[in-house]
Symmetry: C2
Subunit: 343 residues, 2 copies
Amino acid sequence: MKHKTIALDAMGGDHGPRVTVGAAKLALEQIPDIELVLVGDRAQLEKAVRRRELGDDPRIRIHHASEVVGMDELPAVALKKKKDSSMRVAIDLVKSGEVQACVSAGNTGALMATSKFVLKMIRGIHRPAICTLLPAIRGHTHMLDLGANVECAPENLAEFALMGSILAQSVEGIENPKVGLLNVGTEEVKGNEAIKQASRLIAQSRLNYYGFVEGDDIYKGTVDVVVTDGFVGNVSLKTGEGLAALVNHVLRTEFKRNWMTRLAALCAYPVLNRVRQRLDPRRYNGASLLGLNGIVVKSHGSADTPSFFNAIKIASIEIENDVPQRISRTIENYFSQAEAAIS
Amino acid sequence: MKHKTIALDAMGGDHGPRVTVGAAKLALEQIPDIELVLVGDRAQLEKAVRRRELGDDPRIRIHHASEVVGMDELPAVALKKKKDSSMRVAIDLVKSGEVQACVSAGNTGALMATSKFVLKMIRGIHRPAICTLLPAIRGHTHMLDLGANVECAPENLAEFALMGSILAQSVEGIENPKVGLLNVGTEEVKGNEAIKQASRLIAQSRLNYYGFVEGDDIYKGTVDVVVTDGFVGNVSLKTGEGLAALVNHVLRTEFKRNWMTRLAALCAYPVLNRVRQRLDPRRYNGASLLGLNGIVVKSHGSADTPSFFNAIKIASIEIENDVPQRISRTIENYFSQAEAAIS
């Protein structure tokens, strides 16, 4: 059995310890053999731990950190000035090997910058990427990059394909995940030069490459992994969030229109509730920072307790599957294969 | 009263005359002072017109064209080889001034290439853009470009801002539409160089510039016009289509689960139907090709009769507001103003 110790940036996110310690309790109850290190203000965390009756649990401990990175703080400033922030100390614990992963709901830019600085990139990977799981008509879709890189070279996209594929194998247990490259059409002539070149690189690798996919394929589940640059990935992810909010808004206003529609709502409630559960973004909370020498999972800043728990679950799965190690082993021959095949 | 004669590429799209002639009938019934020219195979169209009892209506006539552009045909091939296609002839009628606009459900690439070749660009506009209306929590959003240009210079994005603003004025009757530039964050430091430069250009113009918006703002309705390049716009639009399909799929399967949920569906049917109507993509069918010396509206290829009718309605509104003329008049001083303000 592997050591499964996870550091939680217990002060990060919009809600801090109220959510992170609550989620820690859920994790201790539901994930076997997990150990947790709560990083942050000792006094606050001791109080939160006592309130949740976790004080006597040997599987949880507190590691003091005196500072907190603000949600709007500039990454460079956080990195330089807050060396004793709960975020930084949690990542330091990954670096020192004291824990095997860390989870934070703090500011994405600071988390990425600090993780890169402390953990360094895996040899052979040139850019990190942020990857998340999304619901789809058929199964699920892993999408990356979601915003670590606004501009990407073809080699970066090809590296994302590899990392996404390994994550999908680990999280979803799919042996040979289908990988698609996001484009504005599925014909070979479509897209810009970087996309076409990335497509050739991935096609020559050992990955199960499907070819180009379009925006609607993400939620259809045409492939297991959708690869794109951080600009497009971020816009696409947030477009989905916006449309979900619109549908929710229209459903609410129509069901609240008058007493007849309110009656209909009552009648349809159990079904609508199941619909909501199936599409619940909380079930998908937890984006993986890939390409680093260590496991870092980013929770949504506004995550509630079950959402943050989900992010801990993802970190735990990545530990079990030793994701960074697998990426490192696979990247070694990745491009040499592709280049040999091309030449 | 302006002449409002619109040429319909009556053979284009997945359904051809069955849909286009049906939509023509709706248009004659509902749009005052409209005249229509059905372009395509005379024999087929005469039959379709008779079937719809439009044979005696002096406001509709048939213009023969012997060829049809295939939905998968390469734009360059269609342009070169099919000079008597229903699409090409409809655009030629705009050029000659015989009609004031044309509507086609044919292949987007061919429609754009042929329109550019025949009508030419408005002086001062360097790239055409495709713009559509989308539903939002507050009002509606015009988004462009949706795929005419996979790569855009800052000047192109600034031109799109101007064209989108004029279209929103015309279609929505908003005096001073709020314009946003799609980015991966709303802070000034976010995004790539092209985006930052475009932002400076638009900020210096007379447009009502809101600044950066993110993907979720599209369906929130934060601004009236969302500007982006054709790659991001296309992915974002299709992401929305995919997510809508997923929500629809989950609603259907949950309401069909067993007899109790089927009963709930019956009960909620009137409300769900209203929800569907409010979000119905058919109400938003009809994308404007902007930047050309002439009005061209693209209908979705799979459009049904009410959808295609909506595209005709948009063409009619653009005629009433003389959109190309307004773009042409406004672009003249657009950059000189911006440059003067910057220097």
